[in-house]
């Protein structure tokens, strides 16, 4: 832990930033001075002041509280999407890489075809089928990123498969499930951890983009992307701080995830260095 901080101060700072956002999201109901949909009609579009540190929006809702509750949505979708994505990516990549042969060929062609669709377009299309909602955003992003990740997991599995200890385990009579659980999985943990951190930034950004376009987390739940969305533009022209805070929170979170991801990649997998 301390070696990590000393060798990768920026990565540690990123991790700390991310941890702070997570804590903010989890403790939103304690930290936030107001409720996220507590409207005060007499103080609409107020500039930052002592009562409302970051100002208020067009309905008179406290922006600081909304940004803090927004962390709950962003971090919830971020960590939920990443967890689901890793589960899908690891299962598909493991099966495809470990068993190989025709199954691998078929799965990889399907992944190839899937990667031809731009991430945002697929996410929008799936959201158009499922309908807006927090759970659907997590489901969609987890699925989309999971299928993409399976490619990386698969190549990690292939690298492990080339080692003799795997052959030895099989020769000693270990079954497929046991071999995967005891020998393959522990050896591909590094790429899984790296993928998770790198994906975190991507999931947070994509959720924000979806909500920004109006197909993500629906109001009144405050999502940073939704707070920046086009319908608020009229008010932002009169009160630009509306456009400022959610964007800053969003950028800081993604920055934290990127820094942590870069540092972990440098430490855990030197081969991938500079590959982005």
């Amino acid at each position: 832990m301390w070696t990590f901080v000393r060798r990768k101060p920026l990565g540690a700072a990123g991790g700390l930033l991310l941890f702070a956002m997570l804590a903010l999201g989890l403790l939103a109901h304690v930290v936030a001075p107001y409720d996220y949909d507590e409207a005060d009609v007499f103080s609409r579009l107020k500039a930052p002041s002592v009562d409302h540190w970051l100002g208020t929006d067009n309905l008179g809702r406290d922006l600081l509280s909304r940004v803090i509750y927004g962390a709950r949505v962003s971090m919830g979708v971020g960590f939920g999407g990443v967890a689901l994505g890793l589960a899908i990516g690891t299962s598909v990549g493991l099966v495809s890489g470990y068993f190989g042969g025709r199954l691998d060929l078929l799965v990889q062609r399907v992944v190839d075809a899937f990667m031809c669709f731009p991430l945002l377009l697929v996410a929008l299309t799936i959201m158009a089928i499922l309908g807006p909602g927090l759970e659907n955003v997590i489901l969609t992003l987890g699925l989309v990123l999971g299928i993409r990740d399976s490619r990386v997991i698969r190549s990690a599995v292939l690298a492990v498969k080339a080692h003799l200890y795997l052959e030895a385990a099989r020769a000693l009579g270990a079954g497929h499930a046991g071999t995967i659980a005891r020998h393959v999985l522990p050896n591909i943990l590094a790429p899984i951890i790296i993928l998770g951190t790198v994906n975190l930034g991507a999931v947070i950004l994509t959720e924000a983009a979806l909500s920004f376009l109006g197909f993500g987390v629906p109001p009144p739940r405050p999502s940073w992307g939704g707070m920046l969305s086009g319908s608020g533009l009229v008010h932002m022209l009169r009160a630009p701080w509306l456009a400022l805070w959610p964007g800053i929170a969003l950028s800081l979170s993604v920055f934290g995830a990127n820094m942590l991801g870069d540092a972990l990649r440098d430490l855990l997998d030197p081969r991938l260095r500079g590959n982005r």
Binding site: V110, C116, L121, L124, T125, I129, L233, L237, A243
Partner: protein
């Protein structure tokens, strides 16, 4: 080279088939309550049966696919439920807008990323390198839609200046004004994506500049520019081209957002309208069109890869 090209061409057929299966599945995945909504909110048919017939869902699955695919091959990408126009006609009208935006953005990305990336690699660990890397991380972290929102909001609040949004001038009317409309969105999209390309350029250049042939070139007395550009960039170009080719979907995804913010009538705003109206045939058409485009651009990248690197052609 010809054999390589032919083999690569044949390989896209299964990919295109699977892409078509994905697109075909879109309409078939609509849940029942959405069908009710399509009937009530948008009056896409008198009852569920009529809507199913309009969507071509009233036959056995294999027949449905055969009819749909043969239509696609003849250029029939489906008919909009909302406007009753063939989707392909709207795509043809809107595609040039998205293409203009994408190409301008790619040009801006390259103009920003290549010089900075090369400089950062040549002067590794200098102040310039750190500045360049900080720029790349910032570009990766700041969402492009936030950047675009700020560009619209801040000047208008502080200087009472706003980009013209809402009225769109076509290329035929006034070419200069047409291009003007793309500058701000292309800047937002191009600069954001420049971060990725810059990091890639820097990484590749660093690797290439350490090679023996670069040292040889320096030893035989070639100047800095000749070594960096002639030997360095030339060899780093292959992965860079691949990355840019692979970024095409990102530029399209980004153009959905930029067209939305800056009111450009391209494919992005087209698909957003279709999604909010649950106009699934149009959603299908755009997905199929864009994915096929990506398949084609991947093919071009692979072919140029073969042209740039003789080793790729033989195996």
């Amino acid at each position: 080279m010809v054999r390589y090209a032919i083999r690569r061409l044949l390989l896209i057929l299964p990919t295109l088939f699977l892409v078509s299966l994905f697109v075909f599945a879109i309409v078939r995945a609509i849940p029942g309550d959405v069908v009710d909504m399509m009937l009530e909110q948008f009056q896409y048919g008198r009852d569920a049966d009529e809507l199913r017939a309009r969507l071509g869902l009233d036959r056995p699955l294999a027949v449905q696919y055969a009819r749909w695919a043969s239509g696609v091959l003849r250029g029939d990408l489906g008919t909009s439920l909302w406007t009753n126009r063939p989707a392909v006609r709207d795509i043809a009208a809107r595609f040039p807008v998205t293409m203009t935006l994408s190409f301008l953005s790619i040009a801006i990305s390259l103009l920003v990323a290549l010089p900075i990336g090369i400089l950062a690699a040549v002067r590794q660990d200098s102040g310039a390198d750190y500045a360049a890397r900080s720029f790349a991380v910032a570009a990766l972290s700041v969402p492009n839609f936030w950047l675009a929102t700020l560009i619209v909001v801040l000047p208008s609040y502080y200087f009472q200046w706003a980009p013209s949004i809402g009225s769109f001038t076509t290329f035929g009317e006034r070419p200069g004004v047409y291009l003007d409309q793309f500058i701000l969105p292309a800047l937002c999209l191009g600069v954001a994506q420049a971060g990725t390309i810059m990091r890639m350029t820097r990484g590749m250049m660093l690797e290439v500049l350490r090679q023996d042939y670069v040292r040889t070139a320096v030893a035989k007395g070639l100047g800095g520019a000749a070594v960096v550009l002639g030997h360095g960039l030339r060899n780093a170009a292959i992965p860079i081209v691949t990355v840019i080719g692979g970024q095409l979907p990102f530029y399209f995804g980004g153009s959905i957002i930029m067209e939305h913010i800056f009111g450009l009538p391209g494919m992005g705003s087209f698909v957003l309208e279709a999604i909010s109206r649950r106009d699934y045939p149009v959603i299908q058409a755009v997905n199929l069109f864009v994915a096929s485009l990506v398949v084609l651009s991947n093919l071009l990248v692979d072919l140029s890869y073969g042209a740039l690197d003789p080793r790729v052609r033989q195996d």
